[in-house]
């Protein structure tokens, strides 16, 4: 039966979800704030409802979103990632209003979103974790706890916001002096960023790999994993490049990680799509980090190597369908890499380039390339949202083939107007360590020279400007 599904998000993920909704024969309803009035998700959806002037506050306003959903008669809401995606109150509000929340139940989001509770669940399930504290007590008592913990396990330690996620709200602390200085700051930051000042401490694992496992679970508790992803290439805990499957040579280790992920999902009574994140150290120890209770930005790489449409599956599971396949039906084939093409200037500390107009948008095509983006030539990037323009996901049968194709596709990708991360990635894919598949979370830091690239697209754009100027002047001031 045709359902009406509201997409409570913007940007590329809104488009991604709209596509899945429409493929399933349902009706996609978009919402938007004023700065997004020229956004593509409005055009792609069957209906689009204006929320308010924003910025961001309307996308985050549970009452408004629920109100719109009820007004249009939405049967379900897909929250995407970010915004309200991991807000248990939003999931709860959906449940209370008879709207299907496409994601796990609110109590699961609640439990896993609270890192201390999550750790408790995993501890009971016998899953190894990086040693850490409970939520630190307020004031001096909390500081005392933190110092005692660090003395016991040694520095460096990580200060984390309990409600943080996606790499935000994490600080590395090298010594007691720094711990004393940063703890109150971390608390204040957590309060302002997540509206929750709970923080805790963890022992730092030095230069680990970030490996995560995609999970799907139906309401009956049938749980499968879709293999691993390596998201080690991060800048300040923000993922830039994601790879499926993990390139760890010891495949039995990867299998153990995947099985552990299923155990973790079952232990938390997980439903729908989720991601279990682990740190893997040089010795092959792996530690549970957290479960992300949403569709991840990098879900595309898993789709490419498994052939399973995760967003489509999410919708079907939320509408009460059983998983249509079991673990032995899931096969990993080839390699996929996603690169987040952001409107940022890597040479200027990755400063966002919002407010600029895309004057040329020429995307690569051909075998093995998939684009999940939302910009078009002439689109002005709103300043008030994130800087992701398009995710380029490239598939290849072997790792070498994938790297070759990445380079070809980046060479074929021309975006001018804003500066982008394309020329930086082009340099990155030519790096010998990357080509060998040899990287951990220190990669960006230890490969700082990658920042020294020539921006060819930008050069071409400058010349176009020169020709336009000659045309404008109706005479050539250089022909003298």
């Amino acid at each position: 039966m045709k359902k009406k599904i509201l997409i409570a998000n913007r940007g590329e993920i809104a488009l991604r979800i709209i596509r899945a909704v429409q493929e399933l024969g349902h009706i996609a309803v978009a919402i938007y704030e004023t700065p997004d009035k020229d956004a593509l998700h409005i055009r792609a959806a069957n209906e689009a409802i204006w929320l308010g002037d924003g910025p961001r506050c309307d996308y985050l306003n549970i009452d408004k979103v629920i109100g719109v959903a009820k007004k249009v008669g939405a049967d379900a809401i897909h929250p995407g990632y970010g915004f309200l995606a991991e807000n248990p109150d939003f999931a709860k509000a959906c449940e209370n209003n008879g709207i299907i929340f496409i994601g796990p139940p609110s109590e699961v989001i609640q439990a896993l979103g609270d890192k201390v509770t999550a750790r408790q669940i995993m501890k009971e399930a016998g899953i190894s974790m990086v040693p850490g504290t409970d939520n630190l007590a307020a004031g001096d008592a909390g500081l005392r706890e933190a110092i005692d913990f660090a003395d016991k396990y040694g520095y460096p330690v990580m200060l984390k916001a309990t409600a943080g996620g996606g790499g935000r709200g994490i600080r590395r602390v090298e010594n007691e002096k720094q711990l004393r200085a940063e703890l109150p700051m971390a608390r204040a930051e957590a309060k302002s960023a997540f509206n929750n000042d709970a923080i805790f401490l963890e022992k730092a694992v030095i230069n680990p790999k970030h490996v995560e496992v995609q999970i799907l679970a139906d309401k009956e508790g049938n749980t499968v994993h879709l293999g691993s992803r390596d998201c080690s290439i991060q800048r300040r805990n923000q993922k830039l490049v994601e790879i499926a499957p993990s390139l760890i040579k010891d495949r039995t280790l990867v299998d153990r990680i995947c099985e552990t992920a299923v155990t973790a999902a079952k232990a938390s009574h997980y439903e729908n799509a989720g991601t279990v994140e682990f740190l893997v150290d040089r010795e092959g120890n792996f530690y549970f980090m957290e479960i992300n209770t949403r569709v991840q930005v990098e879900h595309t790489v898993t789709e490419m190597v498994t052939g399973i449409d995760i967003v489509r599956t999410q919708i079907k599971l939320a509408l009460g369908k059983k998983l249509a396949f079991c673990q032995k039906d899931v096969h990993i084939r080839g390699f996929a890499v996603e690169m987040r093409i952001n409107a940022e200037d890597p040479q200027n500390n990755f400063m966002p380039e919002g407010g600029k107009t895309v004057s040329v948008y020429r995307s690569p095509g051909g075998y093995g390339v998939r684009l999940d983006g939302f910009v078009y030539q002439g689109f002005t990037i709103p300043k008030v949202y994130d800087s992701l323009l398009v995710k380029m996901t490239v598939f290849g049968f072997s790792w070498n083939e994938t790297v070759d194709r990445l380079q070809r596709c980046l060479n074929n990708f021309v975006i001018t107007g804003p500066k982008t991360t394309i020329p930086y990635y082009l340099k990155l894919v030519q790096d010998p360590d990357f080509k060998k598949g040899d990287f951990d979370t220190s990669f960006i830091e230890t490969h700082a020279h990658l920042i020294n690239y020539d921006d060819q697209a930008n050069e071409g754009s400058k010349l176009a400007h020169l020709i336009a100027e000659i045309h404008y002047k109706r005479e050539n001031p250089y022909a003298i």
């Binding site: 050069e459 754009s461 400058k462 176009a464 400007h465 020709i467 000659i470 045309h471 050539n476 022909a479």
Partner: protein, 636 residues
């Protein structure tokens, strides 16, 4: 095959050349560009020709130096170092050659020692063969460059500049060679630099012979120009007399005052039993096939007078200055006086000023003096600053004799002997603080300059900064062919431009419409580049209400205004110095500003005693005749 390849040391090069059964050819692409196309041949064109020029197997490719370093940044918007880097990628074997004016480097005036050494060091990373000359054949003027080239392990090619006249004997030149060898040692290539293409084949053959009689092992490189159409004759005579290397260029671009065609040299000397060593004739032909379609885009820069000019034997202008002289005559409106200037005045001035060698910067002094003598009424009534410096010996001693006293009197007044005694002779030019200049440049650019940017800046401060800013805004224009960069009169609406970039890749640009916005403040320009539409917005220049139209003032009016303290530019020029400050008291005759035109500097002096009022001109400004420079309030 005894091909010379880049990376060989001087000893190996000399051994190979001496041992080879035949002669070598240098492709003087830069000199051809300078002599016949006002130095405008673009890197784009040179990159197209690079593969076949590499195949051809030349002794060297002369591709930088002379005026080209300045024109690269001023008119072609290309970095002279990047040019060499990109050519090197396509031409790994061929040696690159430069032409360096000794103490004057690639400019027109002496530079401080530390600047010379700094500049040569940086260029020596790319340039294998260094032809060095001085327009007075004054060996000490070349010494710093000699030392740096030898220290960098590159091939040094000192020149004896050649001219004709009673003083220019074989004895004189052989002695000059001896003077050079005393400084350089004998691991050099010796250049006979016949920039005017002067003398008969016999004269050149005799000179080569005389030098080889004294120095039988000498590797002589003959350089000539084809201004009179007879350089093939001189090349043949030189080669037959034992010159081992000769200069010529690609025939597709030859025709006037540059070097003669390579292929003609090959064909002619073959008949005389002389083989060009290591040369691939097919590649020479291929180069011209590649170049031929490009020539039409440079037509505007060709000489105003087409064809050879055998009267060069009278006026002796160097090939490199012929085209620009005619251009100045057209722009200055004195083309009708050219016969008088070239055939009467210039030879007279040559003799009067010591019969030295008419080559940069000496040739510009001769030329501007002759023009000014014909144009200005009374001869030597308006001596340029550079002529005065020449008379004072600032460039070096006169080689044969000093100009007559009456010229000194014209230049310096009745007390000229005192002036000469006090100011005569070469100044020791003080080193500049290069690190300080680096900071100044960093401030101007807003970022830390590269070593190469600093080198360019030290030579041409204003033009370098303008170029760096241009490049930041408009990128690397060597990607564009001459059909676009040198397209005159702009583009037509709807016009389609198909072209290959520097790498040979096809592009297409459609010129779209231009539309003003509603209030006329902006213009939208649309282009289709490689089938993608681009949109550009330009702010329209607002014509200020009541803006005075530029008045065209006569020479007389400009002089009258100057007497009233309103100092105007007497001709089109660039401001290269402001010598006074606002509020400063000045005496009549005191220097106010220095103008530069036709590469020559001219001081503008106050006509009155007074106080400096408003200074309108800024260093680096381009001014037209009649433009305000400085106001002097006369003291009554």
């Amino acid at each position: 095959m005894n091909r010379i390849v880049q990376g060989m040391g001087i000893a190996e090069v000399l051994k190979t050349v001496r041992g080879a059964n035949g002669y070598y050819i240098t492709n003087t692409a830069r000199d051809m560009s300078q002599a016949d196309y006002k130095n405008r041949i673009l890197l784009h064109t040179d990159l197209l020709a690079a593969p076949s020029r590499e195949e051809a197997g030349y002794f060297s490719l002369e591709i930088t130096g002379g005026a080209s370093v300045h024109v690269d940044i001023l008119r072609k918007q290309v970095d002279p170092f990047l040019k060499l880097e990109l050519l090197r990628e396509k031409m790994p074997k061929t040696m690159f050659q430069t032409l360096c004016r000794g103490i004057n480097l690639f400019g027109y005036r002496p530079y401080p020692q530390n600047v010379i050494r700094f500049v040569v060091k940086e260029f020596a990373r790319y340039v294998d063969v260094w032809r060095v000359f001085d327009f007075l054949n004054h060996v000490p003027n070349m010494q710093a460059v000699f030392e740096e080239v030898q220290a960098a392990g590159k091939i040094l090619e000192p020149s004896v500049c050649f001219s004709t006249g009673p003083e220019h004997t074989n004895e004189f030149y052989v002695k000059k060679v001896q003077e050079i060898l005393a400084v350089t040692g004998d691991e050099i290539v010796l250049c006979i630099k016949n920039h005017g293409g002067l003398g008969s084949p016999k004269r050149i053959g005799d000179l080569v012979d005389a030098i080889l009689q004294k120095y039988p092992e000498m590797v002589i490189h003959y350089h000539g120009h084809n201004t009179d159409g007879n350089d093939i004759g001189r090349i043949v005579a030189a080669a037959m007399a034992g010159a081992k290397i000769v200069d010529a260029s690609d025939h597709a671009f030859t025709g006037y005052y540059g070097p003669p065609p390579i292929l003609t040299v090959l064909q002619t000397l073959k008949e005389y039993g002389r083989q060009a060593v290591g040369l691939n004739e097919a590649a020479v032909m291929e180069t011209s096939e590649v170049l031929r379609p490009e020539r039409k885009y440079y037509e505007y820069f060709e000489s105003q007078f087409k064809g050879f000019d055998p009267t060069v034997q009278i006026h002796k202008l160097p090939g490199g200055a012929m085209g620009s002289s005619f251009e100045q005559a057209v722009k200055g409106g004195f083309l009708d006086k050219m016969p008088e200037i070239l055939h009467k005045e210039l030879p007279k001035v040559q003799v009067e000023l010591g019969n030295y060698w008419s080559v940069t910067p000496g040739s510009q002094i001769l030329w501007t003096t002759a023009v000014s003598n014909v144009q200005g009424g009374e001869r030597y009534s308006n001596c340029s600053g550079d002529l005065k410096n020449l008379l004072l010996g600032k460039y070096g001693p006169f080689p044969f004799y000093q100009p007559p006293d009456w010229i000194y009197e014209k230049a310096f007044g009745p007390d000229w002997r005192t002036v000469l005694a006090q100011e005569g002779g070469m100044d020791a030019i003080e080193d500049i603080d290069i690190e300080k200049e680096r900071k100044v440049l960093a401030d101007k650019l807003g970022y830390e300059p590269t070593e190469q940017q600093l080198v360019t800046y030290l030579q041409h401060p204003n033009d370098a900064v303008n170029f760096f800013r241009f490049e930041e805004k408009f990128g690397k224009v060597y990607v564009l062919p001459p059909s676009i960069l040198f397209r005159r009169g702009g583009f037509k609406l709807g016009e389609t431009l198909s072209f290959k970039d520097h790498a040979g890749k096809e592009h297409v640009i459609e010129m779209g419409p231009m539309q003003e916005n509603e209030d006329g403040t902006e213009t939208n320009v649309y282009l289709n580049i490689d089938h993608h539409q681009r949109h550009f917005v330009f702010e329209n220049a607002v014509a200020e209400a009541g803006e005075a139209k530029a008045l065209k003032l006569s020479k007389k009016e400009i002089e009258d205004l100057a007497k009233a303290g309103d100092v105007r530019a007497p001709f089109t020029a660039n401001i290269c110095e402001i010598s006074v400050k606002e509020g400063q008291e000045v005496k009549a005759g005191e220097k106010l500003v220095v103008l530069e035109a036709m590469k020559m500097q001219t001081p503008m002096n106050s006509e009155v005693d007074g106080v400096i009022g408003k200074i309108v001109a800024k260093v680096g400004d381009a001014v037209q005749a009649g433009d305000e420079l400085v106001k002097v309030t006369p003291l009554v």
